[in-house]
């Protein structure tokens, strides 16, 4: 029983970074209707920017992380403005291919600049081996930090969408773009900023993963698992995405603990295929029926 609860705790901890990636993907999916395969790499580049700020210019970790998040915001806005917006007439496949292209460019750039070696985030205050005990259970400090940060971000996103004018404008744009534009919302700008916010949320996940593992492929797995979680939750629902991501994290850990460590990495996909067979639009989305 203690093992079981411990596994669930670890699953929730891992699920937090998946949840951040899932949130980021859902934000973009709702704005531009494309699963953003570049999400991981949009977080990867800011992580290495933070690394460079600390390593080459000697600033403190907090300054570097802040700089990286600002960079992520700008990067997201720029990508939408310069590339995604220009492909207005594309279908879903076309947009998916564009994000795959973005992903390849960013990945190629980072691994050209920094090589494929594993790096260590310099002067990060928490070691990846520290852990905190709660009675019989432990959680590593960095996981605890991730969990808290993820909760903070979820709550602030909720408040943002509920109470701020811009958040409401974003919701309006996602629900009905034409109507939103007729109401005087600059939908193009809203979409651009959505990409920026999504990039920032993803980068938070990246920065929290970086102290544990840091190489050009580090965001690959969290991105796919976040995507899987978002799909389980229904791709259009923010709470659904978070819930789905935690499910993926927990199932993964339980499977790793009880069945087989070898296939832990792929069990998430088996879960989503099963979920999608039963509910083709995920657990939380209303099934969308196209009008003929």
């Amino acid at each position: 029983m203690i093992d079981f609860i411990q596994m669930i705790i670890s699953g929730i901890a891992v699920g937090s970074s998946y949840a951040l990636m899932a949130l980021a993907m859902v934000l973009i999916y709702k704005a531009s209707e494309v699963p953003n395969f570049a999400q991981g790499e949009m977080a990867l580049l800011p992580v290495f920017i933070a690394f460079m700020i600390i390593y080459s210019y000697g600033y403190s970790v907090f300054a570097a992380f802040f700089g990286a998040l600002v960079f992520a915001l700008v990067l997201g806005c720029c990508l939408e403005f310069a590339i995604v917006r220009r492909a207005k007439n594309s279908n879903v496949l076309g947009l998916i291919i564009i994000t795959i292209g973005l992903e390849m460019i960013l990945l190629g750039f980072v691994s050209w600049k920094f090589g494929a070696d594993e790096r260590v985030m310099p002067s990060f205050p928490i070691s990846s081996y520290d852990s905190v005990m709660f009675g019989d259970f432990y959680i590593t400090t960095i996981d605890l930090l991730t969990l808290i940060v993820a909760l903070v971000i979820m709550i602030s996103l909720f408040l943002f969408f509920r109470f701020s004018k811009f958040g409401v404008a974003m919701k309006a744009t996602q629900q009905n773009e034409t109507a939103a534009r007729l109401m005087g919302i600059r939908t193009n700008r809203v979409k651009m900023v959505t990409w920026g916010i999504s990039g920032t949320v993803g980068s938070v996940a990246g920065l929290l993963i970086a102290p544990v593992i840091m190489d050009p492929y580090m965001m690959w797995d969290p991105m796919l698992k976040g995507f899987a979680g978002a799909v389980v939750g229904g791709m259009t629902s923010l709470p659904g995405a978070v819930f789905g991501a935690y499910i993926v994290g927990i199932v993964e850990h339980l499977f790793g603990g009880y069945v087989s460590m070898d296939f832990k990495a792929v069990v998430a996909f088996a879960v989503i295929v099963i979920v999608l067979c039963v509910k083709p639009s995920g657990l939380f989305a209303r099934h969308y029926v196209k009008k003929v």
Binding site: Y29, I97, G101, G115, A116, V231, A268, F269
Partner: protein, 347 residues
């Protein structure tokens, strides 16, 4: 000029196409005598990619279903062929076809959930399917596990094929055959059903197209092509390991199809030729004259020299984005534009 149905389904629409086809066949026959060994190896590599991409195009271009998991079928073909030859001692061609059929079976399985999915849901399902296949294959001891497998001797009707030149003719015959088959499929009832599903699946269903049958058939057919190509690939490399069949391979296949032009027969072939060539050349990017020296300088001063091969990703990504932004029909679209320009010149 297409005047009737038979004119439309004819393999060669005019004497001119027949002439160019004959010229192409003669060129392919003479190719090993004209070029050195490395280019023959390259031709084999390109031929394999052409098979996969033509199959993928049947699924993505004609039926409109996205697949990010074709590396999985490719892996099934490669492992299936080798295992059938070594453990069950099948002859090569039989093993190749059986491996293709096994891949087709898995394609059918993937086609079942795909019946209800579209867009991002289908993308993640196929992606997960491909990753799962590769991971599972990599953990089975009988299949060599992480160490990989060596290809056995290749014997066809008593002839040992050991060099790239000997293998070349086998690869080319299979490729030309499969391409012609694919081209003919697109002109039959099946091909028209695929296109109908792509354009409007609800309308297609009301017109009596059996969605269950044709969608799964598209997946199975496409997987069969990938499986056969995988079987040939195993003998080009002579050694296979699970790392070869990762997600980026699936993306690479999709890139080739998109770059060439989805939904056409010749486009993906052109895309496969161009991008496979780029792929092999960019692996040794520092040896390219002029550009290589400049890149070496740039890398040592601003970037890292160890990561210089990753420029490949940048090039492919840029190609994908540029094509999607400016010419969604890819190389085929460019060709059409050029033709139109010359035909109507000076207007």
């Amino acid at each position: 000029m297409k005047r009737d149905y038979y004119g439309d389904v004819k393999l060669f629409s005019s004497g001119v196409t027949l002439f160019w086809f004959a010229a192409l066949i003669i060129f392919l026959l003479l190719y090993p005598f004209l070029f050195e060994n490395y280019y023959v190896y390259m031709a084999n590599y390109i031929a394999i990619n052409i098979i996969v991409v033509v199959g993928l195009n049947l699924l993505v271009g004609y039926t409109g279903q996205i697949s990010l998991g074709h590396a999985g079928f490719f892996a099934i073909g490669a492992y299936g062929t080798i295992v059938l030859m070594t453990l069950a001692s099948f002859p090569f061609l039989l093993a190749l076809i059986c491996a293709g059929l096994i891949a087709a079976g898995f394609g059918f399985l993937l086609g079942l959930p795909a019946l209800r999915l579209e867009g991002p849901y289908l993308a993640i399902a196929t992606l997960g399917f491909g990753l799962t296949l590769t991971t599972v294959i990599g953990r089975i001891d009988m299949l060599g596990g992480r160490q990989g497998l060596h290809a056995p001797d290749l014997v066809i009707m008593g002839h040992h094929l050991t060099t790239d030149r000997q293998f070349y003719y086998l690869a080319m015959i299979i490729t030309v055959l499969l391409v012609i088959i694919a081209r003919n499929i697109t002109k039959t009832k099946v091909g028209r059903a695929f296109v109908a599903i792509r354009d409007a699946h609800i309308a297609a269903e009301t017109m009596g197209v059996n969605l269950v049958l044709y969608k799964t058939l598209a997946f199975a057919l496409s997987a069969f092509y990938a499986g056969v190509a995988g079987g040939l690939f195993a003998f080009v490399l002579r050694f296979i390991e699970p790392e070869l069949f990762g997600f980026f391979l699936s993306i690479f296949f999709l890139t080739m199809a998109v770059a060439g032009g989805l939904g056409t027969v010749m486009g993906p072939i052109a895309g496969a030729i161009l991008l496979s060539f780029l792929d092999l050349e960019l692996r040794n990017i520092l040896n390219i004259p002029y550009v290589g020296d400049w890149l070496r300088q740039l890398s040592t001063s601003h970037f890292s020299l160890t990561g210089v091969s990753n420029i490949q990703f940048i090039v492919f990504g840029t190609i994908l984005i540029l094509i999607m932004l400016f010419e969604p029909l890819g190389l085929y679209g460019l060709w059409i534009r050029m033709k139109k320009y010359w035909k109507t010149w000076p207007f």
